[in-house]
């Protein structure tokens, strides 16, 4: 455990300090560009923030750095020498370690065994020397201010402590580069403090730290340098001191402050009709670590944008309304009737439909045809006594494929063979079969081509005009601002602001996102009157909203 003497962090790294450098790295997956000519230099004793929205290329970059992926183009220099990491082990052996977002340890093994897995101290017989291992484990953790029984299984510790163990493991060897992939995402505020102290400790020890986070607080508190990725491109890199919060947010969301200042084209600017009752009323949605009393309303014909950075709770809010996100508290009502919690089936019956964020994992069923994918959710309506009506089904599929201009060789083509944009249209067709009253779209245009994107945006507008209530989430702020009537701004699982039709602008949204939160703890919801879930809605019973007891 030799460490360089403590040194003050310096703002501008000199060439001599550079530990790891990547030059012109490109990586494609099946024709999709994940990283395009990205260059980056990491210096010892500096914390380098890596930020960006979904699909920006952060995880691809980390995986290239740690030998999980091989770059298609470009080179990696380690201590000035070109290197190739064929496997994660190579990178680890060279002194680059990674702490993953999900604690990547073995929960059932003891703390000490986790710390020393693969490099256990052994005695002369080749057997593990437990006394020494436990002693060393205790000493090691003490460096991070952790005092636990190292013989207990890891899973008995709080998540934050587990994260510390992961860090202690990662850097108990002589590591010069430590990559932390959203290490704070599931930690309590108190635990985040501890984490930041450790990061500071690493910096003073001369380690080069890559800190991936979507929390601006942490970036501005602990990081020296910041690099912004967007759609695989490097859009900004430089000292944290030289960039304002607002500027950083605008870069992350793909907007130039200069552009933002100019007049905004907005497709929709319909002031909400306050006299009508909202169709959807979600109140006090709460889940520990995830959502803190989020309330959202949507009226007929209204597009409500849910704005916020990745990890702000926007997708979780969407899923919570749809019954697919476990909740501790909160209620969802459609036309004043409570919807049974925890059941997408009940949500669909009540008139809510969702297009999930992750098209591949949660949207399409890749082994099935376009037709089967489209009708999947609407099968009960398209069948009689359990038998699917081919006539009705083909009529629905045919009309939707034409209306949405789904490019496929026919309804029998396997959906996995379609392009991303057409897969997304298939999912849109799936929810449109349901004739929902509330449509929730979680990043519907992510990763699809410009043409399909414009079509989908126009369709959303059209659906709202026909009287549907729409909740729109996008990793592109422009899309939310241009396409929404009103915007709800989320940060760290709480609503931090609501913008009425006349107030919606990219600048206003970004200011709300960038504003330093007063308390680092969970903020309570700011809407009076609807924040508290009432006892009645809390005990939403089975059968309400026509749900069946299928789940």
């Amino acid at each position: 455990m030799t460490r360089l003497p403590s040194q003050e962090p310096v703002a501008g790294a000199t060439a001599a300090d550079v530990v790891l450098e990547i030059r012109d790295i490109s990586k494609r997956f099946a024709g999709v560009v994940a990283l395009d000519d990205v260059s980056l230099a990491l210096s010892s004793g500096q914390v380098h923030a890596l930020v960006g929205e979904n699909g920006a290329g952060k995880s691809t970059l980390i995986k290239v750095l740690t030998g999980v992926y091989q770059p298609d183009h470009g080179q990696i220099l380690y201590h000035g020498e070109p290197v190739t990491f064929a496997r994660p082990l190579d990178a680890q052996a060279a002194g680059i370690s990674t702490i993953y977002q999900e604690v990547n340890l073995v929960p059932l093994l003891s703390v000490a065994r986790n710390l020393f897995l693969g490099r256990e101290p052994t005695n002369r017989l080749g057997l593990i020397d437990f006394n020494r291992m436990h002693r060393e484990a205790i000493d090691l953790l003490a460096r991070y201010g952790i005092h636990v029984d190292v013989r207990r299984p890891l899973r008995e510790l709080a998540l934050g402590v587990q994260q510390m163990v992961a860090i202690a493991r990662a850097i108990s060897a002589d590591h010069r580069v430590v990559i932390m992939d959203e290490p704070s995402s599931s930690l309590e505020p108190r635990e985040v403090e501890r984490l930041l102290e450790v990061v500071d400790l690493l910096r003073r020890d001369g380690v080069a730290v890559v800190y991936v986070s979507h929390r601006l607080e942490e970036v501005f508190r602990i990081c020296d340098q910041v690099t912004v990725l967007r759609d695989g491109h490097l859009v900004h890199t430089g000292p944290v001191a030289d960039i304002s919060r607002l500027e950083l947010v605008s870069r992350m969301l793909g907007r130039d402050l200069a552009d933002v200042a100019r007049a905004q084209t907005r497709f929709r600017e319909r002031p909400a009709d306050e006299t009508t009752q909202p169709i959807l009323r979600a109140t006090g949605l709460t889940r520990r670590h995830v959502l803190h009393g989020v309330s959202v309303e949507a009226r007929a014909g209204e597009v409500v944008g849910l704005a916020g950075l990745l990890g702000s709770g926007r997708s979780e809010t969407a899923k919570a309304i749809y019954g697919a996100q476990p909740l501790d508290e909160g209620a969802v009502e459609i036309d004043g009737t409570p919807v049974r919690r925890g059941s997408p089936h009940a949500a669909i019956a009540a008139g809510i439909a969702l297009i999930p964020e992750d098209r591949k994992a949660e949207g399409i069923v890749p082994s099935l045809s376009v037709r089967d994918n489209i009708v999947l959710a609407a099968l009960p309506a398209l069948s009689r006594a359990g038998f699917v009506s081919d006539r009705q089904q083909d009529a629905v599929v045919g009309s939707l494929m034409t209306r949405l201009r789904i490019k496929a060789s026919g309804p029998d083509q396997r959906v996995s063979e379609l392009s991303g944009g057409n897969q997304q249209k298939v999912l849109l067709a799936r929810v449109l079969c349901l004739h929902p009253r509330i449509l929730i779209l979680d990043d519907p245009t992510r990763g699809i081509d410009v043409g399909a994107k414009a079509e989908i945006q126009a369709l959303i507008s059209e659906l709202a005009s026909d009287g549907m209530g729409v909740l729109l989430i996008s990793s592109e702020l422009e899309e939310v601002v241009e396409g929404s009537d009103t915007v709800v701004v989320l940060r760290d699982g709480s609503v931090v602001g609501r913008l009425a039709a006349a107030e919606v602008s990219e600048g206003a949204v970004m200011e709300m996102i960038a504003a330093a939160s007063l308390a680092s703890g969970p903020a309570s919801d700011g809407v009076p009157g609807v924040a508290a879930a009432t006892a009645e809605t809390e005990d939403a019973v089975d059968g309400s909203g026509g749900g069946h007891d299928d789940y």
Partner: protein, 343 residues
């Protein structure tokens, strides 16, 4: 192979403080965990005590005790290998057939002398175990289907060698290999001694060596283990190799014990071994388990068998029913525990 059904958790019960709830859950979990780890042992003691009260010395005698131990030794050997495989997140259904194949080969090989009698079955079973390992760890095929195929193959081979099971090879009683099955060391039958050694060695390897801990890590999370630098494919291959080898050893002992090799023995042994391992507190999903628990599980199954035989009016088939019920109960308890763990 599992179908993942993502169904949201039920909301936790209202508590004044979540921390308190969490602490209570941890306490509950520890208690349940202890129960799981030592449950088989506790049940074993209770069953043995009850049997002693009911049947007196016909159960609680040194002779009967040694009988139970001897009956347990063959299953025990197989179960030690199975414990590693299951802790490592796999399953080995081929061990029963391997045992039969080994017994046939041992008896067949005894015509050519003691070296062949010992080496042939071990070599062939080791080889088949290695094949299991390579197909599972390198080619990425599902363990249950690979070992099911080996189950079929080994049994087929055993039949082929023994002329479709019609020829039963006998081992010359004067051959020294007989000692492995019928000899004694300090008054204790050799199979018991060998099984005892296997358990001791298994315990040592599982708890005190890098390999043992790595196997646990692989079963808990293969990806995490790989990222932590464990040679996953190699260790998994070793796991199945050793399981095959131990099944081969058990078959050799069975052949030596009965002075013959029959191709029909060992059907369903794999299920008994799995039952013993799981009843002993090893998670069927891998990542946690103990050799001592397996010992308790093996003994429990054989004590129950012994008791059922003592009753006389009960058919021995009840043992299978009891195993099945035990298996379901234990798996449900394990499932409950892993839910607790997620809180």
């Amino acid at each position: 192979m599992s179908t993942v059904v993502r169904v949201p958790d039920r909301p936790p019960p209202a508590m004044t403080s979540l921390d308190e709830a969490e602490r209570a859950a941890t306490r509950r979990e520890r208690l349940a965990g202890t129960l799981q780890r030592n449950g088989a042992f506790v049940v074993l003691v209770i069953v043995a005590l009850l049997a002693s009260l009911l049947f007196g010395t016909s159960f609680a005698s040194t002779d009967n005790f040694l009988n139970v131990l001897e009956a347990s030794s063959f299953l025990g050997l197989v179960a030690v290998g199975m414990t590693f495989v299951i802790i490592g997140g796999g399953i080995d259904l081929s061990v029963g057939s391997m045992l039969a194949l080994s017994a046939v080969l041992a008896a067949y090989g005894s015509q050519y002398g003691i070296v062949v009698a010992v080496a042939l079955p071990l070599a062939i079973c080791g080889l088949l175990g290695l094949l299991n390992g390579v197909l599972i760890a390198r080619a990425g095929m599902p363990p249950f289907i690979v070992t099911l195929a080996t189950l079929l193959f080994a049994r087929g081979l055993a039949f082929a060698v023994s002329n479709e099971g019609n020829k039963i090879f006998h081992i010359d009683e004067t051959l020294a290999v007989i000692w492995l099955g019928q000899g004694s060391i300090l008054g204790i039958r050799v199979p018991i001694v060998i099984a005892g050694l296997a358990f001791a060695l298994g315990w040592l390897v599982l708890t005190r060596t890098r390999y043992g801990i790595s196997v646990t890590a692989i079963g808990s999370s293969e990806d995490a283990a790989r990222l932590m630098g464990v040679p996953v494919a190699r260790f998994k291959t070793v796991m199945y190799f050793v399981s095959g080898l131990l099944a081969g050893l058990a078959g050799l002992l069975v052949a030596a014990r009965s002075s013959s090799g029959q191709s029909t023995i060992g059907t369903g042994l794999e299920l008994q071994a799995i039952a013993a391992v799981v009843i002993g507190g090893t998670l069927l999903t891998g990542g946690s388990g103990s050799i001592a628990g397996t010992l308790a599980g093996v003994l429990l199954l054989n004590v129950i068998n012994n008791v059922i035989n003592q009753v006389g009016t009960l058919s021995s088939y009840y043992q299978q029913v009891v195993s099945g019920v035990f298996l379901i109960t234990v798996v449900l308890v394990q499932r409950y525990l892993s839910r607790e763990q997620r809180l």
